[in-house]
Each structure stands twice: as structure tokens, then as C-alpha cells.
Amino acid sequence: MLGVGVVSTLGRGLAAHAEGQGRDPAPAARVHADEIEPGKRLPYRPVAADAGFDELIDGALSDALGEAGLDVRERPRVGLFLGSSSLDIGVCERAYAAALAAGERPEAAMAWARSGYGFLADQVARRFGIAGPCLTVNTACSSSANAALYAARMIRAGELDHAVVLGTEDFNRLSLLGFASLMLVTAEEARPFDAARDGLVLGEGVAALVLGPADGQRRFHLCGGANVCDTSSATNSSPEHVAGVMSEALTDAGVTPQSVAGVKAHGTSTPSNDEAEGRGLRLLFGSSPPPFTSLKGHLGHTLGACGAIETAALMAALEAGFLPATAGFREMDPDLAIAPLREPASADEGFYLLNFFGFGGNNTSLVMRWGR
């Protein structure tokens, strides 16, 4: 990984994310959900910066390209792999609301101009002069993890030299209310793996990861990974499939379970995800798994962007010397008999497993090596 840029509720840049994950998170913001009932408020973790969606993207991408040292002359040969579940739906939502507020009578939403899944990536590529392959991956909450997986594979196959992996999540009411309709949003705070967990807190943010050939100078390496569709349920993973995708990712990276220094769990704080993931961890690692944590108590669940954002956040913490505690976790679930980190732990160089699971059974695990 040659460069990283990240903007989330914790701020902009790796230093802000290391600092933010080293302390207890501030209470989540509250956004209205009058559609559910008048006066209803739901927790949310927005980006604090007073910036538009494009500005967030440009900030994260500029930071990543700057660190990677890819100047404008090299960008025509760089690939862009954007992973997002909601893409530019927030922009469409606001435009539609504004048109209605202005007294216009649009015949349909999302109908002003050229659009499509690839529109956002196309706009970003044009702004930054990125002219290599330009892919948008839309696989729910594993979107940007899969974008990273395929970007790394194409680099490894010699099909391109550098790739920017971009994960984006822009606040939109459709996602907020959609998850609320599924009864998956907590009324309070995320409590991943906790016995009393009762739902997730959504969040927004952008992260950019620049991938390129290993040069011996870099501290973080994406070593492998796997994506496997669990067809047993569209909404709930099974422990066996969770264990299976983690195992496949480790095999792809040439790493044994015993060599894993830590796990960044998907850990959404929903009863079903954390049960499947906890049991999956036990299936793969036995009763004494490596230290594991969920970052969603700090970041919120940034949906399709979480692959890039949580990878960047983990890198920030590791570089600062620690594996973050699972914010919100208090009491072990006796049915899982497995507990994430309660306090920040000293981090060792080595291999880290990162999990990202999405609707449609779309399970992805990545393996990252920290250290030269």
C-alpha cells in the first residue's frame, strides 16, 4: 500500500484516526427519522467537516496520491476501483428534495442527466486525470473490500502498475431508513459482540488506498484475500461460511491461522452478524482466537466504504502501536463465549485479517501484512 487518505467521523488523515481510536468515542449524533414516527431520532456518525461529498473524496484521494507520490504524469496509467453501496444516492436524494422544495414537479427521481453505477467513479477519474481501468464494485458492505481485492489481483497479474481503491459513503436517508425498516439500527450506540448488542449505527466517510508493486519500503502490504457468496441467506451469514472465507483468504495469502496477529472483525453490532462472525472465529481459530476488534463503535458502519475506511483506520492504529478496543463492548455474550478487545492492545508486526460482510451473502476477508 503506497498511500492512504481517509476522512470519517474521526477527522481527516491517519493521525486523527489513531488519536480517535485511542480514546472512547464521543456520543453519536442524532438525525431525525420522522418517517418512522414524529420526533424519532436515530444515531449516526457523520463526517465532522463542513464539506460536500466531492470535497471529502478529493481530500482523501489527494492525501493518498500525495503519499504515494503519483503525480499527474503517471495518473493516466493508474486504475480507479471504487467500492460503494450507496454511490451517489445521497446527491440524487438532495437534488430531488431540492427540486420538490422549489415547487418543481420532477417526473422521476434520478432523472436529471446521465447516471448509473459508474457515474461517480467517472467523475472522480476525470477530476484527477486517472485514465486507467475505472471499475465500480457494488456488493453491499463488502464493496470497497472487493474493489481492493480485484485491484490487488490485477496488479499481481501484471495488468496494471498502480490502482486507487476508493470507498465512499455519503449520508442518505434511503440507507438510514432502509436499515431502520429492517430493525437493524440501534436506538443508542453500537456495541459489537456485546451480550446486549441490539443494532448498528451508520456512518459516513471516504478512504482512498493506493496500491502498487511492493518496493521493500512500505509498511503495509495487501497479501491476499477471498470473496465467497454465502447463499444460505440474503441477510444473515452462517458461521461455517464466515470461517470458510477467512480460511480461504489466509490460504490465498499463504498464511496459517496461527500466524495471524490480529483480526479486524466486521462486527456490525447486529445480533445476527456478530453471532455468525463470533462463531466463525471460533470455528477457524478455536477457543483462543488472536486479538480481535470491531472499529464500528468509533466509525459507525460506513456500509460499502467500510472496506477502505476500516483498512485505513486499522493502519493508522497499528502505526501508532496499538490495536483499538471495541468501543461499546462491555459484557461477553455467553452464547458466543468470545470477547473482542476491551482495551487498546499493544500491536505486533505481522499478518492481520480483515473481515467485511454484505447483504446477499457477500463475504470478503483480506489479509494485510504490517511490517517490512
Partner: protein, 287 residues
């Protein structure tokens, strides 16, 4: 240039947009031997019909470790627009399964579930070049598993005037929806091969490339066809606009490729997609 990808089976169908959506229930029941699918939307129906027709056309047992890649330009745009209108204009909560079905990979989930595939599964896009970009992902999956199932799916959303703006086409252009599937593998004699995908960043590159493909038929998106026709009679004589045969949709390239392979086309075909002065060529050859 990469190794050619062998195509063992294809299936394609296209519907031209009329006054209202054409019901798909009977087509789905026929394609899947009456299998029942609960709580799916039109985009998923389109994907299932195409994937199962491809399965039937192949006739062989497909392995469980067969990755599935779906290319799409607009995804489930009809349901997304309708839900957005419900939330923003009417203050309605989305219905749970309608919301879940919006994610791009849900069609791939249902295809995988109904075909018994437990492998990689993705939905991939690129503005104006969705099939071309998905081919890059399918190539990676094929390299790892020795097979892959690639679908190119787009639906219409009514009113069509709004949908035409999404596609960037004029009011006189026939728009449509379709589901085009190619199965990559080596366990059967191939119908043909996908030889190459080439991005061409300007008009000069398009002309140079077209001239270098003298032995191939050319089927082009309208903008590329106009550019080639303007460049010379020789090129125009062997090039046709894809829109002469298929209603416009983002994954129309899939219709062209599948049609060529399904009808036993010998020789080579180059399909050129176009977007704002940029082009992407897919080269396919028949067995």
C-alpha cells in the same frame, strides 16, 4: 494482450421499452422450470432468466465453485428511483425486502443460490463501459477457478423520458432492457473466445484500431459508428450500428457478443462502445 477467454455457452434476450413494463413472470418460470422466487424485483428477474437460459444452453453440470460477475450500467434503477420518491416525496419508510434488493449483488445472490454456486460474486460497472469492466473481473475469477459466469443486465425504468436522460439518449431513440450471459470455461468445446478488451482514448485511436482489425466485422455504438462512417467508405461498409438491431441500454454490448456467438458466427467480431470521445473495443471470435 491476455489469453483468450473460452465461451462455452451464451444466452441473451432484449425487450424494447413500450408503454409499460412487459411482465416477466412467465419467462422466469419457463427459464427456471417453474422454480419460485420470493420477494425479487424486475432487475433480479431479468438476471435469473438470462442466467438460467445460459445454464440450459450449456447443458453441462456447472461446478459449485463457479464465480458470478454481473455487469450493469444502471442496476435496479426502477426500484431505486421509486424508493427514493417514496422516501423524499412521500416520507415513506422503504419496505425491508425492497430495500435489500437494491444492492447491486442481490441479483448475483439469487443466481448463485438457484444455480448452487458457492464462489466469488460481484456486481461491476463503469460509466458507458460496464461489460468491458466486468470482463476484467471475470478474467481474474476465471484465472483462479477455471470457469466463470458473466451476466450483463440492465432494466428500464418508466417513465421512459426520464430513463432516456439517464442513458443520455434522445427522445427518438428506442431504449430497452436486457439480460446477456456468457459462461467461461474449458470443460466443453467453446462456441468462441473473447480475445481482447481495448480502451481507446480518442478518435484517432479508434480509427487506428479499426484499421488494424481488417478481418473483423465491426458493430459499434451509434457514436462510434458515426465516427467510423465519417472516416471512410471502406470502414463503414463493414461496420454497423448496434442500435440498428438492439434497443439502447448500457449493457447492449452483451447482446451483440451473445448474438454473434449464439448464431455460430465464424470469424471475428469487434464491438465498439462509445462515450464522449472515448471508446472500448471487445474482440470476439467464433469457433
Amino acid at each position: 494482450m491476455n489469453e483468450p477467454l473460452p465461451v462455452t455457452a451464451v444466452a441473451t434476450f432484449t425487450l424494447t421499452g413500450g408503454d409499460a413494463p412487459e411482465p416477466l413472470d412467465a419467462l422466469l418460470a419457463d427459464a427456471t422450470d417453474g422454480r419460485r422466487f420470493r420477494r425479487i424485483n424486475r432487475f433480479i428477474q431479468l438476471a435469473l432468466i438470462g442466467a438460467h437460459r445460459c445454464r440450459r444452453a450449456d447443458g453441462a453440470q456447472w461446478p459449485a465453485r463457479q464465480p458470478i460477475v454481473i455487469a450493469t450500467g444502471q442496476g435496479g434503477v426502477a426500484a431505486t428511483a421509486a424508493m427514493l420518491e417514496g422516501v423524499v416525496a412521500a416520507g415513506q419508510l422503504p419496505m425491508p425486502f425492497q430495500f435489500i434488493n437494491l444492492v447491486g449483488n442481490m441479483a448475483g445472490f439469487h443466481v448463485a443460490n438457484s444455480l448452487g454456486a458457492v464462489a466469488a460474486n460481484s456486481a461491476v460497472s463503469r460509466l458507458d463501459f460496464p461489460l468491458e469492466s466486468a470482463l476484467a473481473v471475470a478474467r481474474q475469477d476465471y484465472a483462479r477457478e477455471g470457469c466463470a459466469l458473466l451476466g450483463a443486465v440492465d432494466e428500464l425504468a418508466w417513465p421512459l423520458a426520464a430513463h432516456r436522460r439517464r442513458l443520455g439518449v434522445g427522445a427518438d431513440v428506442a431504449v430497452g432492457e436486457g439480460s446477456h450471459w456468457l459462461r467461461l470455461g474449458t470443460d466443453r468445446p467453446p462456441l468462441g473466445w473473447i480475445e481482447d478488451v481495448r480502451y481507446l482514448n480518442d478518435d484517432d485511436a479508434l480509427l487506428d484500431y479499426a484499421k488494424s482489425q481488417q478481418d473483423a466485422a465491426l458493430i459499434c455504438a451509434p457514436a462510434a459508428h458515426r465516427r467510423l462512417a465519417a472516416a471512410g467508405i471502406d470502414l463503414a461498409a463493414r461496420s454497423r450500428s448496434a442500435s440498428e438491431r438492439f434497443p439502447v441500454h448500457d449493457t447492449m454490448a452483451g447482446a451483440v457478443l451473445c448474438d454473434f456467438l449464439e448464431n455460430g458466427g465464424g470469424g471475428r467480431l469487434v464491438h465498439v462502445s462509445a462515450a464522449q470521445g472515448r471508446y472500448a473495443a471487445i474482440v470476439v471470435s467464433g469457433a
